[in-house]
Symmetry: C2
Subunit: 436 residues, 2 copies
């Protein structure tokens, strides 16, 4: 029977869960794999803080280099960029496999890390970086390997999905729903990375790389968060049969891809629309398999530990079979692929207008000038909460468009914004259909 | 670059899809894996029938032994038991890896096949045997490897799920919905394997083996189909907030497991309840990961081909890294595990009774005698469609129980059946709650 020595650097929430899993399930892992996964060292700077599981004293250290020295696999769970990168590069240089949950680092500097691993014939496992315990990285790289992946739609951030679920179900305002998420421990004190879409953007960038076989510069990912959402749009969308989600989207066209994160209306009957609260789900469409979906807890100590250890097991199995290297380089695509910024989508547009004749005509004229075709119009007999033009009350006018180019929409909107009958900035929310 | 020669025996719907995938996506497979997957032979007895994709003439043969001779991996897609087994055993004896979609054979004779593969240091891939293109076998064996699996709930048969969806949504009778499924090509001319639950039972037996690490005799699986379902129960369940699904269930207790397939009421708000039409979904609960769900097309030419080829790629990667054997024996559990037949569940019971005082009292007395506790009662002011006692009209009386033992329920029901106030056989449908 083989054995593998595991060291962990960073004993926060996920680190503690991983320690617990490796100790409590060591025997079952041995039975399932024939390999003994032995936790040898855990580094953290603070051994006094409260943890949900007590790390055995003899495993504790404050010295990360000790972890690298004594392990076959180094698990990086410190998060952040600079030190995490130093730790990973140092581990690879020392001939150690690496497992990490650090989506932030991988989305920004994955290429350098994976190239180093390849050069050294080592593995970098990162299942825990996307979707918590859901084995979605494995599904993309292995289970669906025989497919050309066309689209990925993901609800990849539990904090924002919780907030949007509460806004949708209880008609709460964004601020109210965020406060609730904080109370329940679903949002951090500084929730910027989550609510402004960065966390989901890191994750979709990683999935897009795997699906399309290229490293895509993170700056090219379009990111829009949920901070400015008005519950009025959640409500109007609901009436039209749509549910509002923060979707992370990656699509492949011939030589181009789209990678974007933004609030998105999807049909309320679609599977992704039913994913509520802190759950995550990823819909992946391949040319042969069609649509498949992966669903589970996208964060949390124990689910994330489950993914970390699945990577450790993969490494253990590869080492036991005499081959430690990556199953496949990530940038397998030899054709050029660029990120398309001018994407093509349906749109929900909401204007605040006075309830007078001619308003719809002037707005729709501008849309027509930009070749934007209208699919549906909804004008409500309700007075908007925002200030009116010249103190005349305004009502919401919603236009759903057929597919149009983002750039045309933006140009049309800036023209419409200047119309005297339109009060304030129009609201733009993209609309996606599952199968097009 | 390595290469792997693939041969297929059986060129029906799935075989044709697999040929097409291996030809159309050969280049992308090579890019993703660095391995050339070369389709060398396809055997079938009838090369004149209409196929959705034309198999190149030079690949065709009528001789299965030629396929075994010329291939590194033999793909068995003939189905059925006797010849399929002979083909697989012969391939393994000849030192060839095997990929199969044959759930029927694996559920009944998997042990012999896997032991032979282990003895020979070869792989038998069977991702396509459960859930079509959904990589659920891989999720269980690899993605969730670090977990003790507690429960698996699956909608594993698309034909029955289509029928139940139509009964639920349109209040169709079983016969009407089956006729519709046949028209649409979702049900075969002889739908017995599907509608009587055998297909789902084969699949859950395979998943239970993987999850709990033992081969379980197929005769021990409790199987009940949907043929006798009355739409009245679908409707009454709906009123109570439940959706009726043919669930395949596997649960682990200490030294025991339950493996069963039967019509099951689940809360209409649960994720599985929303899986409609011919889609499949599997919910897997692990001790660390919690609930995860896998969803997609559970059958069909191209999705199943996707799974077949993912197995071929796994074999190619293993061979390229110098190790061809199984990642882990299937029967990894060294503790004894037996199949528990007297399971423990909630129940929906429907009695046809005259609308008279005292009826509920006599039925509930019998239930109390068997320690079965009542959670809810629903008596409808409607006249049943079935014949009444002594020509007195009967009404449906529904009792939802708390958890009880199957054996006690059966005994209580046979006593209740003998009560003079009860007309006909009571209807029994089990009720499952996702998280208990």
């Amino acid at each position: 029977m083989g054995s593998l020595r595991i060291g962990i650097v960073g004993c926060g929430v996920v680190g503690t869960g991983t320690v617990r899993l490796l100790i409590e399930n060591r025997e079952i892992l041995r039975k399932k794999t024939g390999i003994d996964f032995e936790l040898v060292k855990v580094a953290d700077l603070d051994w006094n803080r409260e943890r949900e599981f007590e790390v055995p004293k003899e495993l504790r250290t404050r010295n990360w280099e000790e972890v690298v020295d004594f392990s076959d696999v180094v698990v990086e769970l410190v998060g952040g960029r600079d030190f995490a990168k130093k730790l990973i590069m140092n581990s690879l240089e020392s001939g150690k496999h690496v497992v990490t949950a650090n989506k932030h680092l991988l989305a920004l500097e994955g290429e350098e890390i994976f190239l180093k691993a390849q050069e050294k014939g080592l593995r970098v496992g990162f299942e825990a970086s996307v979707g918590g315990g859901i084995p979605v990285i494995k599904a993309l790289r292995e289970g669906l390997v025989s497919n050309r992946i066309r689209t990925i739609y993901g609800i990849l951030n539990g904090t924002t999905n919780y907030i949007l679920t509460r806004m949708f179900e209880e008609n709460l305002s964004f601020d109210r729903a965020l406060a609730e998420a904080k109370e329940k421990g679903y949002a951090e004190a500084d929730p910027t990375l989550d609510i402004d879409g960065w966390d989901a953007a890191h994750k979709i960038n990683i999935l897009a790389s795997l699906a399309f076989g290229k490293y895509f510069p993170f700056e090219k990912v379009k990111v829009e968060g949920i901070r400015d959402l008005d519950r009025l749009d959640v409500e109007l969308g609901k009436e039209l049969g749509y549910t509002l989600k923060l979707l992370a989207i990656a699509k492949r066209f011939d030589g181009e891809v789209e990678i974007r994160v933004h609030p998105t209306f999807i049909h309320s009957e679609e599977a992704l629309a039913k994913v509520s609260g802190v759950y995550n789900a990823v819909m992946i469409e391949g040319d042969f398999v069609g649509n498949t979906m992966y669903y589970g807890k996208g964060a949390g100590s124990l689910p994330t530990a489950s993914a970390v250890v699945s990577d450790i097991v993969d490494i253990g199995r590869a080492v036991a079979s005499g081959n430690g290297g990556e199953i496949t380089p990530i940038d397998w695509e030899s054709e050029p692929v660029t990120v398309r910024e001018n994407f093509y989508s349906r749109y929900y547009l909401r204007f605040s207008v006075p309830d007078r004749p001619g308003v719809l005509a002037s707005i729709s004229r501008v849309l027509a000038d930009f070749n934007i075709s209208i699919a549906a119009v909804l004008q409500k007999e309700m007075v908007c909460e925002i200030a009116g033009v010249k103190n005349e009350p305004v009502v919401p006018l919603v236009i759903l468009t057929h597919k149009a180019y983002e750039r045309d929409i933006q140009k049309a909107l800036s023209r419409i914004e200047d119309l005297p009958v339109v009060a304030g900035k129009p609201v733009v929310i993209r609309v996606e259909e599952e199968a097009e």
